[in-house]
Every structure is written in structure tokens, then in C-alpha cells.
């Protein structure tokens, strides 16, 4: 089964509705990045292969998009997928490493890039060409610890480390420019010594092309500033703060489904 953004969005809607939970807008925001990674970018012959590329979903609250990709890759069954947020499930709101295909447990913001930098250093020490991808949210850049990792990766020229910032401009209680201004995001990373690429975070082929062109064997670490729309694909969720936490009613679900299914 191939990975497509439409399928991932459909799964996000179905599972969020069934479990009656939120974080829908955050998950929809990263769908096209996940599609690019799991469809075309990540070299993972098997999730247990020690030399596979690593992926850290540092913004763990969007895990449903990741679960959808793991399902579409065939690494988790539909039966498991349907336990999302149920009692006794391994598929909680935030991803746990015990799940096949999840390299690191996340959920507390500002920790994933450090783990990714450690994994990138490990790959270098082991003379492996594997790469480490870390998807962070823009609001996660509020965390001081993230910048500790940013400095370390630049100092050690971890060219095999690729961070992707999901720049949707929103956080739990408001818009990022109102809560704690992060602008200019690209210049900040550049000032810390990273190779910075700006990309449309909903253009799968642009994301894929940008990553393919990166030099991951020498030079600075890389960051893709992915310009995204919170709630992307569902008109009434786009750029709306309430869809960070809000679950859907039956009517909202039906409308969202129609919009997602109508897209190619």
C-alpha cells in the first residue's frame, strides 16, 4: 500500500472521530511532510534494521499522522490502528518507542532534536550513511533545550541531521507571533550555523526534491522551514486555534471527510 496525503488525512479524521479526541489540526499540518518522508525519502527497508534512517516526531502530539503512515507502510495492522486512544492501546496521543516503526518516544516538547543529534553523532561514529530526520513544531522552538541541540549539531557539523520545522504559526493557546514571537525563523537557524531551506510544507514533491539535494555527508546540519497551514485540507479547521484540542461532531466529521475525499 502506498503512502498518500489523502489516505493519511482520511485516517486522521476517521480515528479522531472514532476516539473522540483532538490534536486534529496539528496532525493535518504535517500530513504532506509525513507523506514525503514515508513515501519517498526515508530509507527504512525494515523498522528493525539497525542501519535504517531514523525519524523523530518531536512534536509528538501529531502522532496520529505518523500512525497512519506506519499503517500504510504495513508495519501496523488495521486492528492495531483501530485501538487509537482506546484502553490498553499502544497508540496513544503521543508515540511510544515500543511500537514498531517508532524510534523514540516523544510528547514533551524540546527533547527530540537532542535525541536526533545523538543518533546523528552515533551514525557518524559508526561510519554509517544513515540520516536522522527530526520534525519539530514552530512553537517547540520556544524551548531553550532545542537551541542547545541546535548549537551542538552545528558545532559538530552533523550533516546527516535534517530538522524540519512545521511552521504553521499556531500553538495551543494562540498564534505564535502573539504568544512568543519566533520570527524570523530561517534567520535564527542560519545564525546558529545551519543550512536553511524554505519549502512549501504541503508540496510533497518540493519537500522530497529539497531533501534529495542536501549534502548529508559533510558540512552543516540542515533545516527545512516548512511553511504549513494548521488544519490543512479541512476548510473550517485551517488556521483555527480551537482545532488544536477540539474533537469533531458528527456533522463536522462528515463535512471534513467530504473536503478531504474531494481532493486528488
Amino acid at each position: 500500500m502506498g503512502v498518500s496525503s489523502r489516505q493519511i488525512r482520511r485516517i486522521i479524521l476517521d480515528q479522531s472521530k472514532r476516539a473522540h479526541v483532538g490534536h486534529i489540526g496539528s496532525a493535518l499540518s504535517i500530513v504532506d511532510i509525513i507523506t514525503a518522508l514515508y513515501g519517498l525519502v526515508l530509507r527504512i527497508p525494515d523498522p528493525d534494521d539497525p542501519d535504517r534512517d531514523r525519524f523523530v516526531l518531536s512534536k509528538g502530539h501529531a502522532a496520529l499522522a505518523l500512525y497512519a503512515a506506519l499503517f500504510l507502510k504495513g508495519w501496523i495492522s488495521e486492528k492495531i490502528l483501530n485501538t487509537y486512544c482506546g484502553d490498553g492501546t499502544v497508540l496513544g496521543v503521543h508515540p511510544e518507542h515500543v511500537l514498531k516503526g517508532v524510534d523514540f518516544s516523544t510528547g514533551s516538547l524540546g527533547q527530540g532534536l537532542s535525541m536526533g543529534a545523538g543518533a546523528a553523532l552515533a551514525a557518524r561514529l559508526q561510519q554509517s550513511s544513515r540520516r536522522i530526520f527530526v520534525l519539530v513544531s514552530d512553537a517547540e522552538c520556544n524551548e531553550g533545550s532545542l537551541w542547545e541541540a541546535v548549537m551542538f549539531a552545528a558545532h559538530h557539523h552533523l550533516s546527516n541531521l535534517i530538522a524540519i520545522v512545521d511552521l504553521n504559526g499556531q500553538q495551543a493557546l494562540g498564534y505564535t507571533h502573539q504568544v512568543l514571537n519566533l520570527s524570523p525563523m530561517a534567520e535564527r537557524w542560519r545564525a546558529f550555523g545551519w543550512d536553511v531551506c524554505e519549502v512549501d510544507g504541503h508540496d510533497v514533491s518540493a519537500i522530497t526534491r529539497t531533501i534529495r539535494d542536501l549534502n548529508t555527508s559533510s558540512g552543516p546540519p540542515h533545516v527545512l522551514i516548512a511553511h504549513t497551514i494548521f488544519g490543512k485540507g479541512v476548510s473550517f479547521m485551517e488556521n483555527q486555534i480551537k482545532w488544536h484540542y477540539w474533537p469533531m461532531s458528527e456533522e463536522e466529521y462528515q463535512q471534513a471527510l467530504r473536503e478531504v475525499e474531494a481532493k486528488p
Binding site: H97, F104, S105, S108, M115, A117
Partner: protein
């Protein structure tokens, strides 16, 4: 114990290439033997302890055994959540080495006094917690535990000279070490302050009090069977620790004996309150906080006299 740590780690790293050492820019005149011998396996990550633990988590996922080193508070308090969500949650073999447990950093003040590290680390399931009493015991603890599958926290001291009499470097996970026999009461000590407990026991002998001394270095797993056996044998136990009286060794033993049908009184000697700006040498601070040999003798006599008065009243 610092020199013992580095010497032992160099030996282990010679045998096993998975061992790495990370420091948060501390360890001057201590870590050089490792850094010089293994320059490619030594990383000064800068003053960034949260990232240090996160890096260690990522390194361990790829099969390394990273040791992270700093002063106790910077090794465990600052990156506490990183330790919890990283090495502990993933059960990775990260080793956290905190130097200067208790009041060893004397005049540096409260920011450098490690007074709650054992409390916060031992409440976490899934991490081994070790607080050696001297450099010989530290060495054996490092040798016995470097290859454990899960994470380990070592609370070590700076002193590489003092030897706790009777301990002879013994260490065993989940066991306590009886280092002095006695019949009237049992002093139970954790960490380098154990030498104060031994001195107190020697002084108490001069007062006609026969005092046994037990060292607990294996905090998690706790030496539950040993502690219950001793609690059944003694009517009085005093815990001695350079740690807040809440959360550390005294609390651990309270938990072990709670609910058991024992006729044993437990008195906890540790740091009771914030120092309020009062600083000084380790010796001064041990005295000020009631954990010097002299203060332990005073405390023991007070408690024993109280117990004997009770005996008389009851008689």
C-alpha cells in the same frame, strides 16, 4: 571517587568500544586521562546538560554506552525530565555520573550542594541508583554495573583518599555492607559521610555504647532483605546521609520497615532545612547539619538516654 571513576572507565573503554564519555564542561583535572586516551569518544558538549542527556539517549539507541558527567545538581536536577523520558522510558544503558553528592562543594553554596538527587532518582522505576561511600567501593560499583542493560545513576564524591574502615571496597547490587559490629544500635550510612558514622561509632564505644555500622550504596535496587533483617535485630537505627532528611536513605528505610511488625525505632539524620545563606567547608556544614561524627554521637546519646528513661518508666 572521581579519579577512581576515570581510571575504571578508561579500563572499561579499552575493552569495549561502545563506551563514550560526555561532560557538561566539568571535570577539569579529572577527565583528562579518558579524553587523552580516547579523543574520538570524549565530548565536552558545553554547558548544556539537557542536551547532554538527550544526546546520550540518541547515542544509546544506536548501541553505545554513554556516560554523562557533571556536578550532581547539573547532572540530574537540570535534565531530570530528559532522564525520565530518555534513558529511563526507553531503558537505554545511559550512565549518569554526578560528582559532589551532599555538601562536598562546601563554600560553593546551595546551588552546588546535592541534597535531593537520591530522592528524585530513586522514585523513578527502571533506573539503578548507586551512592558509593569511598573510592574503593565506587570502583567496584562501576565494575559491577557498567554492563547493565538499563540506565544507572552514580552519585560519587570528590575524595579519592579517604577509605571507610571495614568496607574494603565491597559492593553488591541489592545488598548492604555491615562494616562494624555492635549490639546497642545500628548506624546506617549512605555516601562519603559514612566515614563520619564510623568515627561516631568509635567515639560511642568510649561511652560504653556498642554501635554497628551499615553502609547502603545500592539505593535502587534497595537492599530490602538486609534492611529487614537488621531492623529485626536492633531496637534503634540511625540513618546518616548528606542529603535532605526527606527523600533519601532515611525515607527509603522508613518505607522498607513501614507496616512490618518491628520493634525498631528509626531516627533520621540529614539536612533538615534550607541553609539560608550559611556556607562553609564540608566539615563545617556536616557539623551545622548534625551529620558530623561529633553531632552523631550527641544525637545517639540523646536518643539512647531517652530510650533508657522509657525503659525505667516502663520498669
Amino acid at each position: 571517587m572521581r579519579a577512581a571513576f576515570v581510571k575504571t572507565l578508561v579500563e572499561l573503554a579499552d575493552q569495549d568500544s561502545r563506551i563514550l564519555l560526555l561532560t557538561g564542561d566539568l571535570g577539569y583535572n579529572a577527565l583528562e586521562p579518558f579524553a587523552e586516551r580516547f579523543p574520538d569518544r570524549f565530548f565536552n558538549v558545553g554547558v548544556a546538560e539537557q542536551n547532554m542527556v538527550g544526546l546520550a539517549t540518541g547515542l544509546a539507541e544506536s548501541g553505545f554506552i554513554p556516560y554523562v558527567y557533571s556536578i550532581v545538581n547539573f547532572a540530574v536536577l537540570r535534565p531530570y525530565e530528559f532522564i525520565r523520558n530518555g534513558p529511563i522510558l526507553h531503558q537505554f544503558p545511559v550512565r549518569i555520573v554526578g560528582v559532589g553528592g551532599g555538601l562536598e562543594y562546601g563554600p560553593n553554596g546551595l546551588s552546588h550542594h546535592g541534597l535531593e538527587d537520591i530522592g528524585i532518582m530513586r522514585i523513578q522505576p527502571g533506573i539503578t541508583v548507586i551512592a558509593p561511600a569511598d573510592h574503593q567501593q565506587a570502583r567496584h560499583a562501576f565494575l559491577n554495573t557498567w554492563n547493565l542493560p538499563g540506565p544507572v545513576y552514580y552519585r560519587i564524591g570528590k575524595d579519592d583518599k579517604t577509605v571507610v574502615a571495614g568496607l574494603e571496597g565491597h559492593f553488591e547490587l541489592g545488598r548492604a555492607q555491615l562494616i562494624r559490629e555492635g549490639s546497642d544500635l545500628l548506624l546506617i550510612a549512605m555516601g562519603s559521610v559514612a566515614s563520619e558514622a564510623v568515627s561516631a561509632a568509635q567515639a560511642l564505644a568510649g561511652h560504653g555504647v556498642s554501635c554497628a555500622v551499615l553502609v547502603v550504596a545500592s539505593i535502587s535496587p534497595a537492599p530490602v532483605d538486609d534492611l529487614l533483617a537488621f531492623a529485626a535485630r536492633y531496637r534503634l537505627m540511625l540513618t546518616v546521609e548528606a542529603h535532605y532528611a526527606t527523600g533519601g536513605l532515611g525515607s527509603l528505610i522508613s518505607e522498607v520497615i513501614a507496616g512490618k511488625d518491628l520493634n525498631c525505632r528509626l531516627v533520621r539524620c540529614g539536612v533538615e532545612s534550607l541553609p539560608n545563606g550559611v556556607s562553609g567547608s564540608q566539615r563545617f556544614l556536616h557539623q551545622a547539619n548534625g551529620i558530623s561524627a561529633e553531632k552523631l554521637v550527641e544525637k545517639t546519646m540523646q536518643v539512647l538516654y531517652g530510650l533508657r528513661s522509657t525503659d525505667r518508666n516502663e520498669g
